[in-house]
């Protein structure tokens, strides 16, 4: 493999019924930095049915080029069809780095593409960088084994690929003056050849306050001791209109359902206020919450790593602190007869 043939940073643009997923815009932001370091163009890869109109937006968020395949067979995401399109593009234009959002579809697509291109793929990364000296892509992710990040390299194969956690990277400000090159390709696929069919897509609208949308989150850890003490968190949540989440240990203990887990294998959240109560702050947890605006940690161990990411740290017993906090908030409410709300 002649590595120098491979040039440019690509971002897979995930779209859903004509709307670009947030993570793809974030990746354009991150990809921009990488491309600038390498002095190569940044490209978005956009597949779908009737998606040409989205190309400009990809450029406004930082891309120099947009590769488009617009075809009815690409109407809904399917591994089979999307994979084929992406592989054909990559084989033809040979990008050096290729990023995907670590969403169900992004991970699915990247895994299939990596296999066919016989290249490396790093899952669920949270930090991206370039080693300019060796012209290598450094994709880092929390590693099993403590509060440690591991940098994964792919030295001899191209493209260097990674899936990236949503909400970890920052999108650029949209810039309507940017212009870019649109490259349109076709795909040699017929619906009859497809072995899978999407019969129906059911959007979930029922879900009550989703963690991802909450302004204030109270997250409890194993330090809450037991299910009964854990209920204290709901009292605090009630008094300030927050949502309750938990660490993986809490979910595994059965105190919370899985969809309320925050961290690497759960949700990534960026609320305005994040209470971290009785949790140690393992890196697998903090990658999912460290971009919150204010982080308040309550832990009785002054050396707990959570204090390293906390805006305000309280060293103390949660069972003692929480009732006092609840009282304060309730008093505030009663005193003014008002409701707390978040801008």
């Amino acid at each position: 493999m002649n590595l120098s043939e491979y040039q440019g940073v690509w971002v897979f643009i995930e779209q859903n019924e004509g709307e670009i997923e947030g993570v793809s815009l974030e990746l354009l932001g991150a990809g921009r930095t990488l491309a600038d370091k390498l002095e190569v163009p940044l490209a978005g890869v956009l597949l779908g049915d009737g998606v040409r109109s989205l190309a400009n937006q990809v450029v406004y968020y930082g891309a120099d080029e947009v590769y488009i395949i617009d075809h009815p067979v690409l109407k809904d995401y399917r591994t089979e069809s999307y994979m084929k399109g992406v592989i054909e593009l990559a084989e033809k234009y040979k990008p050096e780095i290729f990023l995907y959002g670590a969403t169900p579809n992004g991970k699915d697509l990247a895994s299939a593409v990596a296999t066919d291109l016989s290249t490396g793929l790093t899952a669920d990364t949270t930090m991206l960088d370039i080693d300019l000296e060796n012209r290598l892509f450094e994709a880092s992710r929390p590693a099993f084994g403590g509060n440690i990040m591991a940098t994964i390299l792919c030295k001899k194969h191209r493209p260097q690929m990674a899936t990236v956690r949503p909400k970890v990277m920052k999108a650029l400000e949209v810039d309507h003056t940017r212009i870019g090159k649109i490259i349109e390709e076709t795909i040699s696929l017929k619906e009859e050849d497809m072995r899978t069919k999407v019969i129906q897509i059911v959007k979930d609208v029922s879900k009550k306050a989703n963690l991802a949308d909450a302004h204030v989150i109270i997250c409890g850890g194993k330090g809450m001791g037991d299910l009964q003490n854990f209920q204290l968190l709901y009292s605090l949540a009630d008094s300030i209109g927050a949502s309750v989440g938990g660490t993986r240990d809490v979910v595994e203990a059965g105190w919370l359902p899985h969809h309320l887990q925050i961290g690497q294998t759960g949700e990534t959240v960026t609320p305005k206020i994040y209470f971290a109560v009785g949790l140690s702050g393992a890196i697998q947890h903090t990658v999912g919450m460290k971009n919150s605006e204010i982080i308040i940690a309550i832990n009785k161990d002054p050396n707990a790593p959570i204090f390293d990411v906390a805006t305000y740290g309280i060293v103390g017993d949660a069972m003692e602190i929480l009732p006092k906090l609840i009282e304060q908030f309730n008093e505030l409410k009663n005193h003014t007869g008002g409701e707390l709300s978040y801008v």
């Binding site: 299939a112 990596a114 290249t119 669920d124 450094e138 899978t196 294998t265 103390g316 602190i321 008002g338």
Partner: protein, 274 residues
């Protein structure tokens, strides 16, 4: 129908404790278990077998001790279990793992053609979820990831109807057999195994294969050699600055926090609704 489930042995992270001060893993008491997602995968295969008949096999790549999770799979109801175990497989990343497993699956298919492969959504030690789709590509069968329900098996048309989880909501997919599924935990409850299964598992001897037992293997694609990714370096993440440690008694700390929050009017305001 012949369903093959890929099962992996992983350390029990519920029991492993990471020492937050030294950042090291306390391995002393870490027993190895069947990857929890794979337990659901085996359970689903067994459920489908009860529905339409057939055979459930499991396959694993790992050290000789991994026969323990094959026995566990037999407890859940698998009929046959294969372990591929060889120094040559060691150090594999997801690409090399999917290659080795696909070779094992090809060999199993010679014993009995395969209609469906099921994997877990991901393995809890590495969390990649890349092996399943990788295997599907190598066998050239369609993958369906994040499956939360197998709604229907239409045997005569060789088709399955599947619910696949999306970021928000789900989709219903029809896939042709053979295909590969990766399953979420919601797909089923792993049942408490009946005693006869336990006894069968206690007796069960896994079939163990080395590289030499597989056919048409390109050794360069195995293990460390066949792995394009390597771990470059390990580092502690940079620590953000500017945090304030509140001081004093519990009451003083709480009061101080309230003051600080009230100052942050831009985030947190009080609206009088009365």
């Amino acid at each position: 129908m012949h369903i093959v489930v890929c099962v992996k042995q992983v350390p029990d992270t519920k029991i492993i404790k990471i020492n937050p001060k030294t950042n090291t893993l306390d391995r002393r008491s870490a027993p190895a278990i069947l990857n929890p997602y794979d337990a659901h995968a085996v359970q689903e295969a067994v459920r489908l077998k009860k529905l339409v008949g057939g055979t459930v096999s499991v396959v694993s790549m790992g050290p000789p001790q991994a026969t323990a999770i094959i026995k566990k799979s037999v407890e859940i109801g698998a009929d046959e279990g294969y372990l591929i175990s060889d120094r040559a497989f060691a150090g594999a990343d997801t690409l090399a793992t999917s290659y080795a497993l696909s070779k094992a699956l090809e060999r199993i298919a010679k014993i009995k053609p395969i209609d469906m492969v099921i994997c877990g959504k991901h393995a809890i030690d590495g969390d990649t979820g890349q092996v399943g789709p990788g295997i599907a590509r190598r066998l050239d069968i369609p993958p369906v990831t994040n499956v939360i329900e197998v709604t229907e098996v239409i045997e005569k048309d060789k088709k399955v109807v599947i619910k696949r989880k999306l970021t928000s909501g789900y989709e219903i997919i029809q896939a042709q057999l053979p295909c590969l599924l990766t399953v979420e935990k919601e797909i089923n409850e792993v049942e408490y195994s009946p005693l006869p299964n336990m006894i069968r598992a206690a007796k069960y001897e896994s079939i163990i294969w080395t590289v030499a037992d597989l056919e048409n293997v390109d050794k360069v694609q195995l293990g460390l050699k066949g792995s394009p990714t390597i771990v470059g370096k390990m580092f502690s993440p940079p620590k953000p600055e500017g945090g304030i440690r509140l001081e004093g008694t519990a009451n003083e700390q709480v009061n101080k926090l309230m003051d600080l929050l009230m100052e942050k009017k831009e985030l947190f305001t009080l609206q009088t609704t009365k």
